[in-house]
Symmetry: C2
Subunit: 523 residues, 2 copies
């Protein structure tokens, strides 16, 4: 623990790029080495070192859990040890982890999970019948009627059927085939698996993967791991982070000089940017993918998180089908969902699914083979996914409570989205687009040139410098925009809107005060 | 479902190698294409095809869930549809999935899991106090006191502490550091993560990974995925599948011509071979790794599954420390454990851990970074791992029942190991080494040359042909030795010993009858 602390302390004035990437200052491991390696004559050179390791893994960056989070952990320990700070707790607004922020689990979901875990409870009168019904159905589809058996690599059959039924309902009747559903270990697993299959070629034929900037850094990390080529397209900050097809076209044309762009990734609702794509925009993107022969990846994990009254979630799958057979029988699409977001926030169970459209049957065989190597996604996460897609319906015993809990979470998020936008936009030097969906604000912050210089002196990206100062002075942990990508010369941070309303208000007030002081200090 | 069936039917007379690998006949996906693609003028060439996909993924093979398992699924459906067969059920002896075979979960483990899942139960008088104590401890270490929060990427702190305490007890006091423990999504995840970091270089400098033959095919699959070089060392069948260091030396010397062998993988107790390594052998291996500068991977997931009275499990970690500081401060080791095997058989939760020894501090930083990209292992699996390493102790309320359940599972496995060995060795043309540990028999089978020819005519490996016939005639599903690797010209299959005793007796009798008939038919 002390080591971790020391890492981060040193991390502020590094000598070499740390494991968290170029823009980062933390030479965590190096520091650790200094602390741990005792001078031993007999100690030989290690086999596995920074020099000998997989260079693609070395190139991976992942900001959401980067040095700022290590620093937050250090400060928490200092607080526990009684060290005085200008604040009494660290507020982890760096990651979309609802329950860690105090959101209560949906009762029905946990009841079904408990029943599946310990089936003796099926005899207990304290559990509602509809929960028991769900649990029995799940267990009957499990080997030995147990969550402790491996499932089929693609996931439990009846859960895949429930997912397909959910998609069909969601998309107003556009059919979904359980055979096209793959249960996954969170959405991240699905995204990296399908990218793993897609990447091929060498030199100028290496697969290019188009991703939005700002992006969720899973994408850049997996692209690094796979040694694929990252092709950036920029979202339009001046237009509420909208996706513009002309920008897609520009990015594609430029990329064709040095790679084979084959994949187009979309995050809708946007992470970290919170925009919700219009139906027209989705049509344009699909047409573009069709025209340019791009495999579409639609990251739709925030599909339940839409707050702006003039926005609606449209799935790529639905729009694809509505565009007619030329599109619906040709465009290759994988879309992703998760138990971690929405109103349930069940991150820890690592549940998710992927739906594939127009995947070549031979590739389906390859996909199942690849998934088989890891045996199966966690069956408890699969069960959690089942409850999300198969919730209580009107007339069922648990419906009312379920509905109330769900609407309470989503209603609060909508309130907090508006509150955050409004408060940020009252601060001079902060501009925040509307949070139409997802669970983050990604405000643009003005960083004075003197602060930029100070950051450079610390070998930090300016927004990392800003976020470190924010953390040190207020205890608020947010992620610098450089971890997601942003237009050169602009600075942002990502903050979740997950703290309870009153706490969020305090957080926003503190950010405001900090920002004004920061501007003064570096004026 | 019908499609899956058709795939496997066609799979027996393929035209091109199927997704399950060269030795395999199933052209599953091809068949599926034939069945599904309607003639549509507008259908364009797919972007993602067998030709365009990642060739390393295409090269992956994974026999344990391969075509024989697809075939088993087909037959089950036929039985359900009332189609007459010479048997009434399929017995899936292909995979170490204890609970699917009827093994009951350990009560205490599921009680703690249920309490963690639905903390309202902490007030219920029907749960024992020691289970509640465990659950409270786990929940207190989780964000928001919930299994639904992400954990730290390396795993929940107190669970890593419990793992370290377990290892220290297991190894008679050799200390374990929680900082060296990484919780994983089953052992497979840990193994592939550490290999991912280890692999580098191109051409003759590409990393070579030494694996036993026969091996558990996760290894070959991950090596394919990473485009590393597989270096085979053969276990000595004539000597109870013992590992011989001279054979390691031979394999290493030959490999040095075409790659950079950097990693040595050991499976102890052996899978599929069931041998338990002697302490002397482990010392020899460690000395060899030290001498040749190899990074050691010790797959010790069957550490609780030792049956022969003259065998004992010795961990690589313990032996390493007992060999003195020259070894204990130099040899780089990662060892793996899992909730899936042992006496608990909790496969579905995907729990596991990895302990690293002498990992370079810089690499630890890289490892945490890489793990962060997938956020965290399933927290429910982490909780399951905690209960495995922190079970009830004498004096606690649940101790007696826990102990009884555990000993019953392990006692039965020991009985079945002996029974299987004895019965197989009564069959002419079958030779089976003692099942000292793990949960499989890997008997050598004599396949007459006429049967070899028949297999060739079906473009099948001879043992795949044998196993397909066994499945079709008896309903028993086992995995051909070719899926694990074996010396040229020898044939084997892997069968689990997990069916309940009486059923296992029937299974063995059926295999015997089948084998005798097979020998007669192809005499």
């Amino acid at each position: 623990m002390q080591r971790a602390a020391a890492l981060v302390r040193r991390g502020c004035c590094p000598r070499s790029p740390g494991p968290w990437g170029r823009s980062q200052s933390s030479a965590a491991a190096e520091a650790s080495a200094v602390l741990k390696v005792r001078p031993e004559r007999s100690r030989r050179e290690r086999i596995l070192t920074l020099e000998s390791m997989n260079p693609q893994v070395k190139a991976v960056e992942y900001a959401v859990r980067g040095p700022i989070v290590l620093k937050a952990g250090e400060i928490e320990l200092e607080l526990q040890r009684g060290i005085k700070k200008p604040f009494t707790e660290v507020i982890r607004a760096n990651i979309g982890d609802a329950q860690a922020m105090g959101q209560q689990p949906i009762t029905f979901l946990r009841q079904v999970m408990a029943l599946c875990t310990y089936p003796n409870l099926l005899d207990s009168p304290s559990f509602p019948e509809d929960a028991k019904k769900r649990a029995r159905r799940i267990l009957q589809a499990c080997g030995g009627n147990s969550l402790g058996s491996y499932s089929a690599s693609q996931g439990v059959n009846c859960i895949r059927e429930d997912v397909a039924a959910y998609i069909t309902r969601r998309d107003g009747g556009v059919p979904a085939d359980p055979d096209n559903i793959y249960l996954t270990t969170g959405a991240s697993d699905g995204i990296s698996t399908i990218l793993k299959i897609l990447v091929s070629g060498g030199g100028k034929s290496r697969t290019g993967v188009m991703i939005p900037i700002p992006q969720y850094p899973l994408y850049s990390a997996v692209i690094s791991e796979l040694d694929a080529i990252q092709v950036n397209y920029y979202l339009d900050e001046d237009n509420c982070w909208a996706l513009n097809v002309n920008e897609l076209r520009r990015a594609l044309q430029e990329a064709k000089d040095h790679c084979d762009p084959k994949v187009l990734c979309i995050i809708n609702p946007g992470n970290p940017t919170g925009q919700v794509q219009s139906r027209k925009c989705i049509e344009d993107v699909i047409h573009f993918a069709w025209e340019e022969k791009l495999f579409l990846l639609a990251d739709e994990v925030y599909q339940d998180n839409v707050y702006s009254p003039d926005c609606r979630f449209h799935s790529f799958k639905k729009v694809l089908y509505e565009m007619g057979p030329e599109y619906s029988s040709n465009v290759e699409l994988a879309s992703f969902h998760s138990t971690s977001k929405g109103y349930m926030g069940e991150c820890g169970y690592r549940g998710g699914y992927m739906e594939v459209i127009n995947l070549h049957p031979e590739i389906k065989g390859q996909l199942v083979k690849l998934l088989s190597v890891r045996l199966c996604p966690p069956v408890s996460g699969q069960a959690a996914m089942d409850i999300v897609v198969n919730p209580p319906v009107p007339g069922e015993e648990s419906f009312e409570q379920f509905h109330r809990e769900k609407e309470s979470v989503l209603g609060n998020l909508a309130k907090k989205a508006k509150l955050t936008e409004d408060l940020f936009n009252q601060v001079p030097g902060i501009h925040c687009n509307p949070l139409q969906g997802a669970m983050y604000a990604f405000p643009r912050i003005f960083i004075p040139s003197k602060a930029v210089e100070a950051a450079q002196a610390h070998k930090m990206a300016p927004d990392m410098f800003y976020c470190m100062k924010l953390l040190e002075e207020t205890g608020i942990c947010v992620v610098p925009g450089s971890g997601f990508g942003q237009r050169e010369g602009t600075y942002h941070f990502r903050m979740t809107i997950l703290p309870p309303v009153e706490k969020l208000k305090t957080v926003l007030q503190k950010v405001k005060d900090f920002h004004i002081k920061f501007l003064e200090k570096y004026a």
